[in-house]
């Protein structure tokens, strides 16, 4: 067995499990900032030029990490060292304790029983509380520059990543994760994602508070 074959056995695909209870989470060590996920999302859902349901945030662009931390961004942050250039696919993580759902005054945002966080367009009043509450910048307001929304700052109707719920219903993974060349977007239940990251020698890039928001009690899987 060659080394490559061994590696293929060890490392799983980005999409491990779909449908009810599936979670989505970035492996920042694997992200190469290629933009494939953004393109896939826009192409699949016909997302306009003013909006990105998923975007790649790159920090410390062009900078080297401190010695020994080039591929260990999370450990670098934990130890107070510089992680160097790090790219994070940011989207809606369909949090267990979704703060957007918590603050929505009109119950437009709901955490469904199957785990997806959904925005009900016909109820959204564009107050943008969700924008303030979300730590990940997921809520988008593509109509915020149109007409009265711009004048009054009401934002129009909120839009965000749906984790391709319709695709998952028919057994497909989210478009961004399926498209990702380096499997940097992991889809599965919390335990599967934690196991896969452990295999890769990666660790969550987010702090404990953010992990608790995303995974709730299951955040312990990543300890």
């Amino acid at each position: 067995m060659s080394t490559n074959e061994q590696n293929r056995e060890v490392l799983g695909q980005g999409v491990m499990n779909v449908g009810e209870g599936a979670r989505i989470f970035p492996d920042v060590e694997a992200c190469i900032d290629c933009g494939g996920c953004v393109v896939a999302c826009k192409r699949t859902w016909d997302v306009g030029p003013q909006e990105q349901r998923i975007s790649i945030s790159t920090m410390l662009e062009g900078q080297e990490a401190d010695e020994g931390f080039n591929h260990r961004s999370s450990q670098a942050l934990a130890e107070g060292a510089s992680p160097g250039e790090t790219s994070i696919p940011m989207q809606c993580y369909h949090c267990e304790n979704a703060p957007c759902v918590s603050v929505c005054p009109v119950d437009s945002l709901i955490k469904k029983e199957n785990g997806f966080v959904e925005v009900r367009d016909d109820l959204c009043i564009g107050c943008q509380y969700c924008l303030s509450a979300c730590p990940f910048g997921a809520p988008q307001f593509p109509d915020s520059n149109d007409g009265s929304a711009q004048v009054f700052g009401t934002g129009g109707t909120m839009d965000k990543c749906t984790m391709c719920e319709e695709r998952q219903h028919v057994g497909k993974g989210p478009a961004c994760a399926e498209e990702c060349a380096t499997d940097a977007i992991l889809v599965g239940d919390a335990a599967e994602i934690a196991d896969e990251m452990e295999k890769r020698g990666s660790a969550p890039f987010f702090n404990d508070q953010a992990m608790e928001i995303i995974f709730g009690e299951e955040a312990g899987e990543f300890s």
Binding site: S102, V103, P105, S132
Partner: protein, 334 residues
Amino acid sequence: MTSLDHGKFTRMTTTFHALLGLDVFILFFTGYGIMFNDELWWLAELMGGTAGVAAVHRVAGAGLIALIVFWIVLMVITPTGRSNFREILLTREDIEAMIQDVKFMLGRADERHPNALQFAGGKADEVPLLTYIGKGVVYIFSVELTLLSISGLLIWSKTGVMEVYATRTAAMAFVVFHGLLGVIMVMGIMFHIFEHGFHPAFYPLEPKAFIPRSMIPEDHSGNGEWGIEKLELSPSWHWVTTVMGVLTVIGIVSFLVGSIFDEGYPVPRELVIGGGPTSLLMTIGINIGVFVLFVGIVLSMYGNVLRVRWEKELAQRQEEGETVAADGGEPSDD
């Protein structure tokens, strides 16, 4: 008109009161249409629907801030404003009036203190412009409107305080603060509507906040022509006041309970006591509360109608030569 309808406010104050009332009612109808969107879906639809209700709320909010700024400037630059400012300061007599009122309720005082009397027919130098209760209303509404304006502006501006605001805790804190303060204020407004709409001497509306004191004839002749004996209790006062009293209590309690148990807003899911879908009773109660507010805006409009009618009557009397001097004297007295 009787001597009980003593002039209290200037024309500017009555105009300001009417505008402030209208603006606050719009803020309430839009704000609660949003807060109790399931119980008051129809109100949100009436106030602009999902696309417009927040915009209407913000326009009314901007109007409120404009009114507040205008009023502060007026208080500072005009002699009347400065004297009004002195009138609302709490005095030792107000504290004594509070204590005496408690004793009066307990049957340990024969009468109420002059600082608790609104229209006792007392002399001007004995009875102050505002009772301690009136001063309390001014204080409470001023503090509430200021805090609601500040928190509203912070919620409106997503970038103004981003460094401290862009945290989950801060976002929730602003939402809870603005929402619950609004509920506290609406309870006060409901009581204010009941208090000034259903007094037996003035039912269905105390005109003092709508008819300026410059238009109220004063009678110092002592002949009783303008006295309390001219008043008749309206035959509908008993049952209307009872019904409105019940509705006011139901409205206040429903708004309070609804704000605590309605999951998501103003209390975030993690902090909510009850949560879940609201019951039919709660829906009815909150709608009753809105009905009380609706009665309030109707009474406010009626107050303005009363002023217009009184203006016409005064003009008519003047035409007919019924000139009354400020001291109540007739031209024939000279």
